[in-house]
């Protein structure tokens, strides 16, 4: 039985085994055959592919465009500075980087960057320098944990003492090298590179693979402290890294990080030069070839008048210091000025300053001109009167009675003084609240009976806001800053209908200084709401440093809308504004009646609360000059100027306006004289100097 069984098995096992062996033989033959094809037949081909190297295009930054003010004074530019760069290979090993870093640390001092090295970075470097820190973990731990966990454990076991061994200068250099993107020259040091360092590195370049010396650009400002809104240029901030890399930036590029530099990034940045780097498979750079030269960023000419801006900032600071000497001004610390050309919308000055009483120091608050909204007070009465004409509740010359209005439920509205029967012009000149409240009352369908109930259609507030919006009040002005505020719309409750009447004299909604400037410009130019513009021209980069490049784009005035009101009505409001500054009872007569530039304007005082909830008053002023043919419009705001009801004699908004306008016209005169001198070829230099001295 057993024998039979065995014979049976013998009959199949060896045969089948041999068949299996034959199959194995066939499979292995296929392998050898295919290997022969790959290595012998196609071998040369593949060898060429390997030798044939990779081509990688690397872009490098070009100088950023320069920024000029409206008078073509250079206000932001680049200065060359010495820099030490590092260009890594494709797969740099940490040990290679450490080697380069160790050589560099003998040659250069990283200065402040040494302080920026983090503990984690020091620990990583310590591990690298100390044989991966193997003695920090036990064999057992090594078996039980995966690589990541072991590394974490090692990190946690590095002591303060260990870290003291790590040279900060070396660490700082190492991490700079480590973070450099492959094949892209990255800055190792560009701040305060001494001539000695520069020379030392240059002598040792052959020992320092990837390291190079070059000239880098540094952004500088002509006016360091003036016009904060020019913005700054820095390395790409971490939170925007994705955005910029998707736009083709390298992580070590510098970009505009705030305000105009950021807004104009696309224009200023320019086209990078693209260099094709040819590497072999090991990542060694074999050859480089310039694919495109790149192009410097465009130069930008702003509408800002830097000389005026600087003066205005000085005036604000001086006036704040004067103001706080007066009693009851504890809540006061800041003021804002917007100067623009009412016909074109060009912004000449955007200034704001805040005084820190404890530090006795000023900080720039110029962004407040478009981010800070406040209760404006009577400055908006021009819009109220125009709204009255448009809705037909008043017409030119309508006489209304300025009285103390008393409604049922303790709602009282009064003007500074009871003026009796007054016309629209007088109402503006003397700043009658009651006249304005009566316009609002009529629009809302109400009638006044002394002591009677206030019955009005409160939804009419939306109609009124639509009229105000035509002047830019309560809407975006179009200045273009991303965080522009539009102000807060006060609520008109059915239980407190009186607040609708307050809207008529600027005691409900809040507006920004730039909105006020747009509003007064709209009145000044006959009813066109102009887009406030900060950029005047974009120019080709200048090849010769003394001359500007040709204009690429010139910004034209942009009319956002034409108000509904007839021009003759606007002229009448302008007349009312002129009376404010020149009329016998004008509220700002004292400040402007004798000024040479024939200003028309409107004052404002608004009751409000400061940040701490104290009852205060805002002082405001809007105006334009000259009255006949306005070329400059101004809006000034001094929020929380004093405690409510303690009216100070010092009308800071009016004072600032007067000083700013005087400066504006003085500068204009000075420049005209200079132009005359320059155009007169016979003028000698001596005489020119004399002229300036006369100024």
């Amino acid at each position: 039985m057993k024998k039979k069984q065995k014979r049976k098995k013998k009959s199949h096992v060896p045969v089948r085994m041999n068949i299996l062996f034959f199959i194995v033989f066939l499979l292995f033959s296929v392998l050898i055959l295919r290997l022969g094809i790959v290595q012998i037949v196609q071998g040369e081909n593949y060898r060429k592919q390997v030798e044939q190297t990779d081509e990688i295009s690397v872009s490098s930054a070009v100088p950023r465009g320069e920024i000029y003010d409206r008078n073509y004074e250079k206000i932001a530019y680049n200065t060359p500075r010495k820099a030490i760069t590092y260009t890594p290979t494709i797969n740099p090993q940490p040990k290679e980087l450490l080697e380069v870093a160790k050589k560099l640390t003998e040659l250069i001092d990283m200065g402040d960057d040494k302080e920026k090295v983090t503990t984690r970075e020091l620990k990583d470097l310590w591990l690298l320098e100390n044989n991966r820190g193997d003695e920090k973990v036990t064999e057992e731990e090594k078996r039980n944990l995966n690589d990541k966990e072991i590394y974490q454990l090692k990190l946690s076991r590095i002591t303060e003492e260990d870290l003291k061994e790590v040279d900060l200068n070396l660490a700082s250099i190492y991490w700079k090298l480590y973070r450099a993107p492959a094949l892209t020259p990255s800055i190792v040091k560009n701040e305060g590179v001494t001539d000695e360092e520069y020379a030392l590195v240059s002598e040792h370049l052959s020992d320092l693979p990837g390291v190079d010396i070059t000239i880098d650009w540094e952004r500088e400002k002509t006016y360091d402290k003036t016009f904060h809104l020019l913005g700054s240029v820095k390395n790409i901030p971490a939170e925007k890294a994705n955005y910029y890399t998707s736009m083709g930036y390298k992580l070590n590029d510098r970009v505009g990080t705030s305000y105009l530099e950021e807004m104009l990034e696309q224009v200023l940045q320019g086209q990078k030069s693209v260099v094709k780097t040819v590497t072999d498979r090991s990542g060694n750079v074999v050859d480089t070839e310039i694919l495109s030269e790149g192009k410097s960023g465009y130069d930008v000419v702003l509408t800002i008048d830097m000389e005026l801006q600087a003066e205005v900032e000085k005036i604000i600071q001086e006036e704040i210091l004067t103001m706080i000497e007066y009693p009851n001004t504890e809540t006061f610390d800041s003021a804002f000025v917007v100067v623009m050309n009412p016909k074109t919308g060009e912004i000449l000055t955007l200034a704001g300053k805040q005084y820190n009483r404890e530090e006795k120091d000023f900080i720039d608050y110029s962004n407040g001109t478009f981010t800070y909204a406040f209760v404006p007070g009577s400055v908006v009465k021009g819009a109220t009167v125009l709204m009255g004409y448009e809705t037909g509740v008043i017409s030119a010359g309508t006489v209304l009675r300025d009285e103390v209005m008393r409604f049922k439920g303790n709602v009282t509205i009064s003007s500074v003084s009871t003026m009796g029967s007054i016309t629209d012009l007088k109402a503006l000149e003397r700043s009658s609240n009651v006249y304005m409240a009566k316009i609002a009352l009529a629009i809302a369908g109400g009638t006044y009976t002394p002591g009677g109930p206030l019955i009005i259609d409160t939804s009419q507030i939306d109609v009124m806001r639509k009229y105000f919006a035509q002047f830019g009040l309560g809407v975006e002005t179009g200045i273009g800053f991303p965080n522009e505020a539009t102000g807060i719309k006060g609520t008109v409750k059915a239980t407190e209908p009186g607040s609708l009447l307050y809207y008529g004299f600027g005691q409900l909604d809040t507006y920004t200084p730039i909105q006020l400037a747009q509003y007064v410009s709209t009145i000044a130019n006959g009813g066109y709401r102009m887009k406030p513009q900060l950029v005047k021209e974009i120019r080709e980069p200048n090849t010769n440093s003394d001359e500007l490049g040709p204009i690429v784009e010139e910004f034209k005035p942009v009319v956002l809308n034409r108000v509904d009101m007839k021009e003759e009505w606007i002229d009448r409001v302008k007349e009312g504004f002129w009376l404010v500054t020149h009329g016998s009872q004008g509220t700002a007569r004292y400040y402007f009646a004798n000024e040479p530039y024939d200003l028309a304007g409107k004052t404002g005082t608004a009751q409000t609360y400061d940040g701490k909830g104290r009852r205060t008053e805002n002082l405001t002023f809007v105006g334009f000059a000259p009255y006949d043919d306005p070329e400059v419009a101004i809006a000034v705001v001094a929020p929380n100027a004093y405690f409510e009801g303690t009216r100070s004699r010092y009308s800071i908004a009016n004072v600032i306006s007067r000083r700013v306008l005087r400066t504006y016209f003085d500068l204009k005169e000075k420049r005209m004289k200079e132009d005359v001198e320059q155009s007169d070829t016979s003028t000698t230099e001596d005489e020119e100097i004399n002229v300036t001295e006369e100024d």
């Binding site: 089948r16 295919r34 040369e44 390997v50």
Partner: protein, 393 residues
């Protein structure tokens, strides 16, 4: 009791020498290959350690004779299966998925891949199954052969389900290869094998045809999402230059490395092409690039020599059980070698399975050592069997 000299004689020195050669080649290749690695571990030293463990496994395997293995086979199968089931349900704290596959236990010794050991257990169990079957059905009929085929199929299918759930395509294919090899050797009639294999081959061929020429049909059938990855894999294999996916890139690099090695290679540490995971699944590219066609052929020949040696042992042994085990091990090793080398030279699509004895990796090496250990045991004890069987006769 045998004396020492006999023990020395009975020990398979040839097989040990072949392993020693693999050990040397593995060390040389890993020491060069790990320079491309981005891990901290020194794989070279680790591999020496694993070979040391492997030596112990072989020594351990020698403690049992094939008869004992035969008795143990179903228990080992059951144990292996339990490990696979446990792995499937195990929390991630002890079985952390890597690259989306839950194939490893994290043990104090390192990570452990049960499916590597299960291969050997499976081979043992199926060998036992075939022997038992032939003892029961002395007179072979088509019906009994078909029953055997079904039994073998089921025995493979159960662990295969859990492998598929991990999911681990490479190991799954290895199991199928072992199954095919063992079916072939099990003595099942050609009348069953030929039609079955032919039908499988035809279905496979049709699938590939559809995939290449009518891809949308297949894709609609198996679903857009699942299909996409499989398709990309196939396309990046057939035309890596047009499908520069990760695998396509891997294949191009691999071909460039091997091809540029040409006949004589570039010498130790002379490699120029960067290939990720070079110390594990792509270890062959190091050998082929640095030692050329000659070196690569020697390595392939060494595998062939190993298999030749195994066949010789299988034919020498009088025990069918031993022969089936060796057939299983040969199938396993052959498939590993063919698939692993094949994928680096564009013969087969890229699959994550290691090159036996050369790739870095504890579980794989220990699994292979266990299998080879059993071969050592067969050789070590088989003379006794021969005598006893001769005495019987």
């Amino acid at each position: 009791m045998e004396n020492n000299k006999t023990k020395m004689e009975r020990f398979d020195w040839t097989l040990a020498f072949i392993l020693l050669l693999f050990f040397i080649i593995s060390c040389i290749a890993i020491s060069s290959g790990q320079t491309d690695s981005r891990y901290d571990t020194n794989f070279f030293a680790q591999q020496i350690f694993w070979y040391g463990i492997g030596a112990f496994i072989i020594a351990g395997a020698l403690l049992f004779d094939p008869d004992q293995y035969k008795k143990l086979s179903w228990y080992l199968y059951g144990f292996g299966l339990l490990m696979l089931i446990f792995l499937y349900f195990a929390p991630e704290s002890i079985a952390r998925p890597r690259n989306g596959a839950k194939s490893w236990f994290n043990t104090p010794v390192g990570s452990l891949q049960p499916s590597e050991f299960m291969k050997t257990f499976l081979i043992l169990a199926v060998s036992r199954l075939i022997v038992d079957h032939h003892q029961k059905y002395i007179r072979k009929t088509l019906k009994s052969d078909l029953f055997l085929l079904v039994k073998i199929g089921v025995t493979f299918l159960v662990p295969l389900i859990f492998i598929a759930l991990q999911p681990d395509l490479g190991t799954g294919l290895v199991y199928i290869a072992i199954m095919l090899g063992m079916i072939l050797v099990s003595g099942i009639s050609w009348k069953i094998i030929l039609p079955t294999f032919s039908i499988a081959a035809i279905i496979g061929g049709v699938l590939i045809f559809i995939m290449l020429y009518l891809p949308h049909l297949l894709q609609d059938f198996i679903g857009q999402h699942v299909g996409k990855h499989a398709f990309e894999r196939i396309y990046s294999w057939l035309d890596p230059y047009s499908y520069p996916s990760d695998e396509g890139y891997h294949l191009i690099s691999s071909l460039q490395a091997i091809g540029s090695g040409e006949i004589f290679g570039k010498g130790y540490m002379g490699k120029e092409v960067f290939i990720p995971e070079r110390h594990t699944d792509f270890i062959f590219t190091v050998i082929a690039e640095e030692y050329g066609f000659i070196g690569a052929s020697i390595v392939i020949s060494l595998y062939f020599l190993l298999i030749y040696h195994l066949i010789k042992i299988a034919l020498e042994t009088k025990s069918p059980f031993n022969a089936y085990i060796i057939a299983g091990i040969i199938s396993m090793t052959t498939f590993h070698v063919f698939e692993n080398i094949g994928m680096t030279i564009q013969l087969l699509p890229i699959t994550g399975i290691p090159l036996p004895f050369l790739s870095y990796g504890g579980s794989s090496l220990m699994g292979n050592m266990l299998a080879i250990g059993i071969v050592f045991s067969i050789k070590f004890y088989h003379k006794k069997y021969m005598f006893s069987s001769e005495e019987d006769e």
